[in-house]
């Protein structure tokens, strides 16, 4: 079977034969960038369509069903609509920051994709701080939101941005602590090492109850970090029209919308890498025939399947629960999630020291 690492090494050899080493490196950078961009855009289109269909079915309606078969071309039509609209900056906004904010947010969410391992041997940057890098970079995203809210010169945008800032700064803590539980068990921050340590079983099965708990906490906290319902106080359309992107139109709004889904993709990738074994197949210890059948399914199907599972989980939340009030939101983080995850981390450290995990 052809592995992705074979394809990348073939590309590398062909380019090295044609160009000097420096130019090869540059060409590979461009190729990787284009590949990731195309991949992510395809994912986002699928996610938006999936979101609408899931929302429809959960609310006893069909969702989009007019453009194309089962409404499959609806998202493409919407993208064209956004592209054709004027990206308009109102008169009294801070023009520099107003126009910079969407691009900052977008760049940040693409940066978070760098250390992700997509398949065996297919990783852009194998750094020894992989998971920490992702959570560090995704904390820059809040600055873009604060910039958008401030520069719009609009009280709704400002309130939305402040809520979003408070929310992301608080929920980063419990998201980080829940990842830290797995990092403490496998002893490495590198994405590659974390995946390799799950070859004999995913952490969610190997790590007993504490890891299951930190998986739940991670999903909750990262939903809040993506500013998605039930934590979408930053946009809260019933109170703040659209929160921090009230004044944006056309592709300016489109980029914020795109970024929300890229952030979801990053969250799903991190959750599936850290808790569900990345691209590793599902194995049951002792069932050799079963494990062999599972090995036959390609790794990218495993990875994408896990991603879609997490995405479905997040969408399921969104269309079930009502929005939290700001005091409830902060209470949930500081009085429930954070103390519980600190206690959880202590338990995990104890289990690791005693060597009780598999």
């Amino acid at each position: 079977m052809i592995q992705f690492s074979d394809i990348t090494s073939w590309i590398h050899e062909t380019l090295s034969g044609l160009l000097s080493p420096g130019l090869t490196f540059l060409a590979e950078l461009v190729l990787a960038g284009v590949a990731v961009l195309a991949m992510v855009l395809v994912f986002v289109v699928i996610f938006v369509y999936m979101e609408r269909k899931v929302a429809g079915f959960m609310q006893l309606r069909y969702g989009p069903n007019r453009v194309g078969i089962w409404g499959s071309l609806q998202v493409i039509a919407d993208v064209f609509k956004l592209l054709l609209k004027e990206s308009f900056a109102p008169d009294s906004v801070d023009k520099l920051l107003f126009n910079l904010a969407p691009y900052l947010v977008l760049a940040v969410s693409f940066m978070a994709l760098a250390p992700i391992s997509w398949a065996p041997g297919l990783q852009m940057w194998d750094t020894n701080i992989g998971v920490l890098f992702i959570s560090a970079v995704s904390s820059i995203g809040v600055i873009g939101i604060l910039m958008a809210g401030w520069s719009s010169n609009n009280k709704y945008s400002l309130i939305g941005a402040m809520r979003s800032g408070a929310q992301i700064v608080s929920y980063e803590l419990s998201a980080g602590l829940s990842i830290l539980a797995v990092v403490a068990m496998c002893g490495s921050l590198s994405v590659h090492d974390i995946i390799q340590s799950q070859a004999d079983g995913w952490w969610i099965f190997k790590g007993h109850l504490p890891i299951i708990f930190s998986f739940v906490v991670y999903v909750i906290a990262s939903t809040a970090e993506c500013n998605r319902a039930p934590f979408d106080l930053a946009e809260a359309e019933s109170e703040l029209t659209a929160g921090y992107h009230t004044e944006y139109s056309g592709m300016g709004f489109g980029i914020f919308y795109l970024t929300e889904y890229i952030n979801m993709l990053v969250v799903a990738m991190v959750a599936s890498t850290v808790f569900l074994g990345g691209w590793l197949p599902f194995h049951i210890y002792g069932f050799e025939a079963f494990n062999h059948v599972m090995n036959f399914i390609p790794s990218w199907i495993w990875f994408f399947g896990k991603i879609f599972f997490i995405i479905f989980l997040i969408m399921w939340f969104r269309w079930t629960f009502p929005r939290l009030r700001i005091d409830q939101l902060l209470k949930l983080e500081w009085k429930y999630l954070l103390p519980l995850s600190i206690v959880n981390l202590v338990i995990v450290a104890f289990i690791t020291i005693m060597g009780w995990h598999f």
């Binding site: 079915f57 399921w316 079930t320 429930y336 519980l340």
Partner: protein, 160 residues
Amino acid sequence: MKTVLRYLQEVALAFRSLWSGLRLTLYFFTHPRKEIITEQYPENRTTSINIPERFAGEVVLTHDENNEHKCTACTLCEMACPNGTIKIISAQVETEDGKKKKVLDKWVYNLGMCTFCAQCIDACPQNAITMKNSFELSVYNRSDLIKTLNKPGSKLKEKS
């Protein structure tokens, strides 16, 4: 110790209540054929469309099989209407025993100005008017929106 237990109990209760909500939406998600209630409107307008009986479409003056209505032309509905949609034109007729009596001549209803608030229905002391559940009310000519609701030749129903 007691407070810690209560705290943990609160967390467990929260998960239980969240799960009951999630279970309901998952049921809706996995049973689309059974649960989806959206009407596929332009396709099924002649076949399977289901408009509830109490849907407030347009105002009608009910006539029975003898072409008789209950409107006494008291103009309470005209006064109740916030938009000036209704215009009651009454006529004086002389009854057999020589009394003058006010009867309904034209019940004029301007559909274009109606907001379907049903205040006229509430105001009517005789229950002469109701809301019909029809909803395809658009016409090509604006003057078609002004309707006379009493049928030609209809008359007031005698009190039995």
